[in-house]
């Protein structure tokens, strides 16, 4: 059994760090509210997923080594992104399968890295954060979060406990939004076509807010909603729970 009051070390996805710092701040507020001490390695940058997914394993390995060195001493690592946690939990050990000393270190990091909603619900046993949000919410299942980490119920439980909010499931919430990292700029036509379907399903749901656990998908969805002048807003689950 894990100590529920132990300090949490924040692993902040690079997109949040550089483009959406308000989400990182929401995560901090969330843990402050729960009276859990937080710390944050100031030298962190990127977990290497972008290189790994594009095939650049040597470069991804360099990023992984640095990440492991920076986070090794942490008691528990929490990250507001499913795909980054998937990278650390599953791909780090795979990257070092032929290098036993690093493989061991990767495994140790892997076992103590959690996605935010997973940590709240499965480890801390919290489903009601005491948040209020007077809007109609729909939820997008991010691919790596859903299929590689099996996280589907945790965010839904958290959303359903938000006071004032109405939760509506969209059609095919588990279908990819078409982001796919560099895929979105290498194959923009295909990416756009997939995203169109996602956006249609969001609009059809009647919700006015799309919540997700991965800013990469939300950034993609937000980009098209804005381009189409649709007033539906995207919101990271940390922002929903901590209040914007």
């Amino acid at each position: 059994m894990m100590d529920k009051t132990q300090p949490v070390t924040l692993f902040i996805q690079c997109l949040i760090d550089g483009m959406y710092p308000e989400i990182g701040e929401a995560v901090v507020r969330l843990f402050e509210k729960l009276k859990i001490p937080v710390d944050c390695p100031l030298d962190q940058t990127c977990c290497g997923q972008v290189a790994y997914n594009s095939g650049y394993q040597k470069e991804a390995r360099m990023a992984a080594k640095r990440f492991i060195q920076l986070f090794e001493k942490a008691a528990v690592i929490v990250c507001p992104s499913g795909s980054c946690v998937d990278m650390v939990r599953h791909n780090y050990p795979a990257l070092f399968k032929d290098d036993f000393p690093w493989f061991k270190r990767a495994l140790s990091i892997s076992s103590k890295t959690f996605e935010l909603t997973e940590y709240l619900v499965d480890i801390l046993g919290i489903e009601d954060i005491g948040a209020c949000f007077d809007k109609k919410i729909t939820y997008h299942d991010s691919c790596h979060l859903l299929r590689n980490l099996d996280i589907a119920e945790q965010p839904r439980k958290l959303i359903q406990h938000v006071k004032g909010a109405t939760f509506i499931e969209m059609k095919n919430s588990d279908k990819c939004c078409g982001f796919g990292g560099t895929f979105s700029v290498k194959y923009p036509d295909i990416s756009t076509a997939i995203l169109e379907e996602k956006v249609d399903n969001i609009i059809e749901s009647g919700a006015d807010t799309v919540v997700g656990c991965d800013i990469s998908c939300l950034m993609n969805i937000q980009g098209m909603l804005s381009r189409k002048n649709v007033s539906i807003k995207t919101l990271h689950i940390a922002q929903l729970l901590a209040g914007q």
Binding site: P21, S54, E59, A63, D189, E197
Partner: protein, 476 residues
Amino acid sequence: MTQINTQFYKKQAQKAICNTVLQQALLDLQNRLGPATKAAYNSLAEGPALRKTAHDIRMHALENLDILLETLAQKIRQQGGHVFFAKDGETATNYCLEVARNLNVKMAVKGKSMVTEEIGLNTALMRNGIEVNETDLGEYIIQLAKEGPSHIIAPAIHKTRKQIGKLFSEKLGIPYTDDPPTLTKAARRVLREKFLRADMGISGCNLACAETGHITTVSNEGNIRMSSTMPKVHMVFMGMERVVAKLQDHDILFRLLARGASAQNMAGYVSYIGGPRSADQLDGPDEFHLVILDNGRNKILADKEFREVLTCIRCAACLNVCPVYGKIGGHAYGFPYSGPIGAVLTPLMVGINKAHDLCQGETLCGACRKACPVDNDLPRMLLLLRAKLADGDKDWEVERNNPAEKIMFMAWSVLIRNRKLFDMFLRAGYWIQKVFPRENGLLKKLPLGLNGWTASRDIKPIAPHSFILLWKKKHR
């Protein structure tokens, strides 16, 4: 070998996306079969975990493939059949032609078979004066239209009933109708005649069983059973990986195959065939030939990292859930195997450089793996193919696909290992982005290389202060 058009992936994808008829057909297909297959797995007495058992069965077979194939061949020969091991497509088609010549075959009827699409069998037979008739309704339609399959089990999914009505009226000389039962009956009438006159029946093989020495075919139209029993010779083409050890394994896989393919508990017609008609049987061919095809499979088998792809039983469940296939359809893949399985298998068969778009043009969403009846980890292999393209690979004769991108990622690896440098990069980006147009706080346009994004989407600009900087300020 059939024609390879993998290099036109982007262009063909674009064309498919603009085809509204195709878009609706693909959407309907995925909305219907994707969830239905998932429900069918959940209805299994053993639960969806049976897929893991199936994976182990398939891997076990692959690891013992030499023994299993020898056993299968021996049993079939004992039962009076002929077995031929073909190293490539040409050898396989030549064998078929030789048998056809010896028996003076003028006309063949054919059950749906992807492996014969792979080797371009129809073209080879027709070039040698043998009439070939596809008898699966979907295959028959695309044969009349002179097109390739756009889906592994629903080859004519890209065609509407109106298009089929027009095609039938032109080619079969019937009055135009778009009523599916009438069209089906028209095809049936023509095909009945062909079945009665054919000298050779050609089929694929869904799976073979070494223990019993038989091959099994499944269909929902009964056409394969007619192709395999009515003509005087039955010629079977099978990929060398399609054998399992025991009858029990075989049964587990068929229950999963039908669920993966069409959310059925079992296909309408399942035929177990182990050789020609024996003396005490009324129906069946005089001769039975099994062609076991390598055509690049041995090379895949020898590579431990890619061996797993050979577990595939071609049910097309991955096509029915893939977001990319759902938009670009099957023809964009430029080779008979489309969708996620094509994205891994085709590069390994035709050349990784040549087919690089297939493995790079996928989102890595993982839906294919969850839908696969044999739990084939296609995303893992897509990543591995990308790694070969990123740095080149001697064993697979891959050249580095994009040297400029390599340099970019090398620079990236320096950048992300130095927080100060990373901060400077963010800062520079923050100032540079000011020259690009904005609306409601989002950027409308990005420079070349990233402009694919802003063709259809806005994007949030880099923030004035990174999270780390804000944290530092707060905790100073």
